[in-house]
């Protein structure tokens, strides 16, 4: 079975001079809970809009399930973008019937998804009478119709109170347990940390970083190393007992150190082995700090 659900290659979207998405490449695999993390205006929604065919890309391409984009494949995806969007004068049930009609799904799913998001009691009320939390939950219910293989959620907890946030996060985890791949766009570091398995960090449409959440945002120390002779570094690393594991990414080695070892230990070891190192830094710390600075910046501008 194909494990690659979504591949994005060199995707760009320009609005005049503004680059909303800038040469973005990503791969999302089956079973991932993939967080797209970035401050407001970093290109999250634009990216999701493109891969859902609502927005035309300026450059680049994407594939769903290894295929070129088609409406047939889009029916295998459940998605909400930004605010929940429904016909305000129709009831929750009627709105979901329209979604089911478009997806070619059976109406018999509707009671189940309504129960899942706890909206059964209000199913005959008009959408415009719903509270924000109920609207968000109806949007998730709509995304679940047609038994999608992938669920795309864009800021699903935006504007909710703490209780509502907790409910939605539990719901997402519950859905993920059923084996559905989830793509979650969020500007909340904490949310991605709590919910996601993988993360890509965006800033001004560029991908800053992508990887496993436990590697990127966990407390274990990750070290980046680069040098003029990468083969020699690898030869030394593979023999070292200081490190738990390592991987190569672009022109860097990403190293997970054993307990009690820090980057200066590693640096000293590499020097002793006669390896020339041009770059060494603690990744996790710098990323988190960087991201918080990013958020602080955007908050300053909006406040």
């Amino acid at each position: 079975m194909n494990t690659e659900i979504l591949t994005i290659e060199h995707l760009s979207k320009h609005y005049g001079k503004l680059k909303a998405v800038d040469d973005l490449s990503l791969t999302i695999e089956r079973g991932n809970i993939y967080g797209i993390l970035g401050p407001n205006g970093s290109g999250k929604t634009t990216t999701l809009g493109i891969i859902l065919d609502a927005i035309n890309a300026s450059k680049g391409s994407y594939k769903w399930f290894g295929n070129k984009p088609s409406k047939a494949d889009r029916k295998r995806i459940g998605a909400i973008l930004e605010t929940p969007v429904f016909y305000p004068y129709l009831s929750g049930t009627k709105n979901l019937e329209i979604i089911a009609d478009i997806k070619g799904a059976s109406y018999s799913e509707i009671p189940d998804v309504l129960a899942m998001v706890d909206l059964t009691k209000r199913k005959h009320s008009k959408f415009k009478t719903y509270s924000l939390g109920m609207k968000q939950r109806l949007a998730i219910a709509a995304a679940l119709i047609g038994s999608p293989e992938v669920l795309i959620l864009d800021e699903p907890t935006n504007g909710l109170d703490p209780q509502g946030i907790a409910e939605i996060r539990n719901l997402i985890k519950k859905i993920a347990k059923e084996g559905i791949t989830i793509v979650l766009a969020s500007h909340l570091l904490d949310e991605v940390q709590k919910v996601c398995t993988h993360v890509a960090v965006l800033e001004k449409g560029k991908k800053l970083f992508a990887g496993r959440v436990d590697e990127v945002l966990s407390d274990s120390v990750l070290v980046e190393i680069a040098g003029p002779d990468m083969d020699k570094i690898e030869a030394v690393l593979s023999k070292s007992d200081l490190i738990n594991k390592y991987s190569k990414e672009d022109q860097l080695f990403i190293i997970e150190l054993n307990n009690g070892i820090n980057s200066s230990h590693l640096n000293k070891f590499l020097l002793e082995q006669g390896v020339d190192v041009s770059h060494i830094s603690n990744r996790k710390k710098s990323l988190e700090k960087y991201f918080l600075e990013l958020l602080a910046d955007t908050n300053d501008k909006t406040s």
């Binding site: 809009g49 065919d53 927005i55 889009r74 029916k75 973008l81 004068y89 009627k94 019937e97 478009i102």
Partner: protein, 267 residues
């Protein structure tokens, strides 16, 4: 196609504005259809007082002329149907449901097709409404009804369908281009009642006949009544093939423009 229509019907099912406007259209047109003869005859009697030749009361409701008379009259009220269509399409933009429809799995062509199907259904409904009233009025006002008389001149009823359809397609295009209901309705009125008439005035000879809304309106010419004959006017009592071709060509062009707009524009 059936699935798309089903979706559209669900969208309008609980939409009060849609049904109120449709009811209003039926009410206004029904009242006018049933009342027009009395009004025209009152005018005729007034005109007759001053006329050199005696004017007899006329019947607008006799087969087969009734079809020409009613379809011509109804042509003035297609603007109400246009407003319904404009509200219907611009709602999809203001609620942003067009985007959700596409995300959920409609292609852009599906979306356009669903709106076109709805325009066809509205045009058929308006045509049937006119046909039924025509049959009632015709039977009650024609002295000796022959079966063949009933269906003579029925070409006007089919032409009325085309007139309504083409006008609504034009309104749909405006709605897709402008996205906001108020602006779209404003543009339609401005273009229909002022801009196109001005362009027509400026164009040489019969060139104005090729302007879209004028071509649509020209499909069914003013019916000849004895009143017209008093003034020495003589209008066309048939539907010209050239007009039909021009209107069909415009409809195809508008549909293509809508498709291009939907395809190229971000949602």
């Amino acid at each position: 196609m059936i699935r798309l229509l089903k979706i559209e019907f669900k969208k309008v099912s609980n939409n009060k504005a849609f049904w109120i406007l449709l009811g209003l259209y039926a009410l206004i047109l029904g009242t006018i259809f049933f009342g027009v003869q009395t009004i025209v005859n009152e005018i005729m009697v007034d005109a007759g007082k001053k006329a050199p030749i005696p004017v007899t009361k006329i019947s607008l409701y006799e087969f087969p002329n009734i079809w020409h008379n009613l379809t011509y009259l109804a042509g003035y009220f297609k603007i109400i149907l246009a407003i319904i269509v404009i509200i219907f399409i611009t709602n999809e933009y203001s609620y942003r449901t067009i985007r959700q429809n596409i995300i959920t799995g409609l292609s852009r062509w599906d979306f356009l097709l669903s709106k076109l199907l709805m325009v066809i259904v509205i045009s058929i409904a308006a045509t049937l409404f006119l046909f039924i009233i025509g049959i009632i009025l015709g039977f009650t006002n024609t002295a000796e009804v022959k079966f063949s008389m009933m269906f003579e001149n029925l070409v006007f009823v089919f032409t009325y369908f085309l007139e309504t359809f083409a006008f609504l397609v034009f309104s749909l295009l405006l709605g897709i281009l402008a996205k906001r209901s108020g602006i779209t309705i404003g543009i339609l009125f401005l273009y229909f009642y002022i801009i196109e008439k001005y362009i027509n005035y400026k164009l040489p000879d019969n060139w104005g006949d090729f302007l879209p809304l004028r071509a649509i309106g020209k499909l069914i010419d003013i019916p000849n009544t004895s009143l017209m004959k008093i003034f020495g006017l003589n209008f066309r009592e048939f539907v010209a093939v050239q007009d039909v071709i021009v209107v069909l060509a415009y409809s195809a062009l508008f549909i293509y423009l809508m498709y291009l707009t939907l395809k190229k524009r971000d949602l």
